[in-house]
């Protein structure tokens, strides 16, 4: 399995159960191990999704759109057009694109934390309204009142965009409860980071989700650093896919730098959840090239480490190489790149030239009703 071996994380064994474990005096050990590792076993049997050329090209485009959009957002931040906090998704594109591609559109719900631009783009939400929200304009998806961390699209069943680390996990549990309550067959995909994975409410939610067999996927995007603290310095158990064991939530260890592996893992996980068997915990191992937010001292890791990931593990380069190997022409990919640059430039122009919200908007949307 190709995984980024960074942040003090040791390479993982290919198979987890060992004889030593089985020999421990614990009743039903074998059964418990089977339940908890069955999905990982299934995943390892077939690591990568067998995408058609068209599917792979589509994923490549989406990842590239996120990359270029985020690069542009970084520039606009530098120009002072975007304020406050701005957390870029560069390097992690394969996670959102791979997972979202396996969702049932219009049925499943998604929720994430504050590093949310990529997930929205992967959902096909108009880049213009996202960029305009970043610049705080009336045309933004939250009318300019949310900003980078607080964006929502109930139309797309994208429920944010939450600024409090870990809060989206409990809220995601509620979205999953709503699916179960209505019996609509949908699931909730709740993203969070390796930092949020140390919040207590994540485990409160895991307990209830498993107890009530909620249709929920806990997706840990392990980008190796919680702000500037590496997983090795913050987490007693850095193999995050094991974190559900105490709640009997099966875990999956996934290379989040390969969009096809992410997609295949999603197929396995979503099928389990949709069958009413309860939640699944996926650890997507990935890497964030940029700082935690735009104001990041970059003192906690070496430039070489980042460079090494970019050169040897980049999800977009991987997809591009595969497309070329499949016979897609270099020119076709160049055209795609050009088209995306045009789209992103247009969104930046739109965001820069749209008016700010009118002063009267200060007082709207505090409450829904009048009392």
């Amino acid at each position: 399995m190709a995984k980024p071996a960074v942040g003090g994380k040791a390479p993982k064994p290919a198979t987890v159960p060992s004889d030593a474990k089985l020999a421990t005096p614990k009743h039903n050990r074998e059964e418990a191990e089977f339940v908890l590792h069955s999905l990982q076993d299934e995943h390892e049997k077939s690591l990568r999704y067998k995408a058609t050329d068209e599917e792979l090209l589509n994923m490549y485009e989406q990842m590239l759109l996120i990359r270029r959009f985020e690069e542009r957002a970084g520039q606009l931040y530098g120009l002072g057009l975007i304020g406050g906090f701005c957390h870029l998704y560069i390097g992690q594109e394969a996670v959102a694109v791979g997972l979202q591609s396996a969702l049932t559109e219009g049925l499943d719900s998604v929720i994430t934390g504050y590093r949310d631009h990529g997930h929205m783009l992967a959902y096909g939400i108009d880049p213009n309204v996202i960029m305009a929200e970043l610049t705080g304009r009336e045309a933004g998806i939250s009318k300019g009142k949310g900003g980078s961390m607080h964006m929502f699209s109930t139309e797309h069943r994208f429920y944010g965009g939450h600024g409090i680390v870990g809060a989206q996990v409990a809220l995601g549990g509620g979205l999953a409860l709503a699916h179960q309550y209505r019996g609509d067959g949908g699931l909730c995909l709740a993203y969070f980071g390796d930092g949020a994975a140390n919040q207590g409410q994540v485990y409160e939610t895991m307990n209830m989700a498993s107890l009530w067999k909620l249709p929920m996927v806990f997706a840990i995007e392990n980008n190796q650093y919680a702000m500037g603290t590496s997983t090795a310095r913050s987490s007693a158990e850095t193999e995050f896919y094991r974190r559900g064991t105490a709640f009997r939530v099966p875990g999956m260890d996934v290379n989040g730098m390969d969009v096809l592996e992410v997609r295949q893992a999603a197929e396995v996980a979503f099928a389990h959840v949709r069958a009413g068997k309860g939640p699944v915990l996926m650890e997507l191992n990935t890497y964030r090239y940029r700082g935690h937010s735009m104001s990041d001292p970059a003192k906690y890791r070496t430039r070489e480490e980042v460079q090494d990931q970019r050169e040897h593990n980049d999800p977009i380069e991987r997809a591009k190489k595969e497309l070329l190997e499949r016979g897609v022409s270099e020119d076709a990919l160049k055209d795609t790149d050009k088209r995306i640059r045009t789209t992103v430039s247009a969104s930046a122009d739109f965001a820069e030239n749209s008016p700010e919200p009118p002063p009267s908007d200060l007082y709207t949307d505090v409450l829904v009703e009048s009392y």
């Binding site: 964006m151 929502f152 429920y159 979205l175 209505r182």
Partner: protein
């Protein structure tokens, strides 16, 4: 020598109960730990155990007797080696008449001061509407049950709400009627289930999240404020969170500092929240129904000490009251007493005392703390020209402070005296009975403040 067996209290707030069943008869020999009787209140059932060995002498209160006061002698018991005749009850401890306890009145707890002036009700009830006497506890339950029948998106979740029938029996009977899908027992995990409730509301359901008490909701306050209250605004009106967080709030009785706090001012300071704190059963029912129907997140603050009090509730198919409107519960012309929740009962009690001194007090129940009904407060101030606020809670940064600010900003010209606040003492609530009494607001303190602003006494 004879031991007196007294009616036990199941909880610090219990004052009377039903002696449901004797499990022993006169002359039975019992050992420590044997169950002697079953005691019931509207909240719970408890088995009453022997603490000593001995023989049951006389059973004084027969089984099936209701309204047995806590501390009343219900039987006598002879010690292990004592003569049977010792167990005869002394003549003076014959069963007390089950009349209303006058001692309770000064505490303002079980007392139900009747408003002399006819309370104004909203909206106008149809001519000839009858009323039924129900407890606040029952009124809250009825409100939830009615709304659950009306809208299948409504469900209730919390600790012990289902099989246990509610830690304070507010959800009694709901599991039987609506089943486990809609009446959900949660683990003890406030942060988690407040988040799940908020998320379910974002996902289109109408959750009622019960906190066993609002003290425990501090573990969950992040979701109440950051997730529920702010989402509509942050999403530009796109994503709503119609959730009701409800449960008892404020001081209970002898439960110490960590379980005795009024969070009204905390939540009322947050834009995006509706905060309701009713006093009587009719308001509890009508406002809880309104809260469940609201598209906005609501914090609904109840009071454990008021759960068992009975009030008249109109017999209407759909008794829904407006959020954000105060109610004049007693009309008067000399001084306005603004209060909410348990403070209303104390204010009415104070008004009676003041009336006997020739001071005619108007009592306003705010009912909703956010949005606050400024108009009713200021209109009353314009009439009486004197105003005090009675609040069971700390004085600093309180609802009382807020009402004072409103009077200063918009009612200054009507003031004939400085506005005064009557609040709890500014200390964590102590456990000792005497200190607790000293720390909490009571009717005499309200009377004193009213006299002061009337320049009397």
């Amino acid at each position: 020598m004879a031991l007196e067996l007294k009616m036990p209290a199941l909880s610090p707030t219990m004052e009377e109960g039903t002696l449901a069943k004797w499990l022993v008869k006169e002359g039975d020999t019992v050992s420590a730990g044997d169950i002697l009787a079953e005691i019931e209140t509207d909240k719970a059932t408890m088995e009453f155990e022997a603490v000593d060995e001995g023989t049951i002498g006389r059973i004084i209160v027969p089984e099936g007797t209701e309204n047995v006061k806590v501390g009343e002698v219900i039987a006598t018991m002879a010690g292990d080696d004592a003569d049977q005749t010792d167990a005869e009850p002394p003549a003076e401890s014959a069963p007390a008449k089950a009349d209303a306890s006058p001692a309770a009145a000064s505490k303002g707890d079980a007392a139900q001061p009747a408003a002399v002036a006819k309370p104004s009700r909203d909206p106008d009830l149809p001519e000839g509407t009858t009323t039924t006497t129900v407890t606040v506890r029952e009124a809250l339950r009825d409100a939830m049950a009615e709304e659950m029948r009306r809208d299948d998106r409504v469900f209730v979740m919390g600790e012990e709400v289902a099989q246990y029938q509610g830690a304070y029996k507010v959800t009694q009977g709901l599991l039987d009627e609506f089943g486990p899908k809609r009446v959900i027992d949660t683990p003890i995990t406030e942060y988690g289930f407040a988040g799940i409730g908020s998320g379910a509301a974002m996902g289109g359901l109408r959750p009622i999240v019960e906190f066993m008490t609002f003290n425990f909701a501090m573990q969950a306050i992040d979701h109440i404020i950051n997730s529920a209250a702010k989402t509509n605004y942050m999403s530009g009106g796109q994503m709503r969170c119609p959730v009701v967080f409800r449960g008892p709030n404020g001081a209970a009785s002898r439960v110490g500092a960590q379980h005795s706090q009024n969070f009204g001012p905390w939540y009322a300071s947050v834009p995006g929240l509706i905060v309701i704190a009713p006093y009587d059963a009719a308001d509890a029912k009508g406002l809880l129904k309104a809260a469940i129907r609201s598209e906005d997140p609501v914090v609904f603050l109840e009071n454990e000490l008021v759960y068992g009090r009975s009030f008249e509730v109109p017999d209407l198919d759909d008794h829904v009251l407006p959020i954000g409107k105060a109610r004049i519960v007693r009309e008067g012309k000399d001084v306005t007493i603004v209060s909410y929740s348990i403070g209303v009962g104390l204010s009415l009690e104070a008004a009676e005392t003041l009336a006997s001194e020739g001071i005619d007090a108007e009592v306003i129940d705010l009912r909703t703390l956010r949005p606050l009904d400024r108009e009713t407060v200021l209109t009353s101030l314009a009439k009486t020209n004197r105003l005090i606020i009675a609040e069971e809670g700390w004085p600093t940064c309180s609802i009382a402070s807020e009402v004072m600010a409103i009077c200063m900003e918009d009612g200054f010209d009507h003031l004939d005296a400085p506005v005064l606040r009557v609040c709890d003492e500014d200390v964590p609530l102590p456990y000792a009975a005497n200190l607790e009494k000293l720390a909490l607001i009571d009717a005499p303190r309200i009377v004193e403040a009213a006299r002061k602003v009337c320049y009397r006494g």
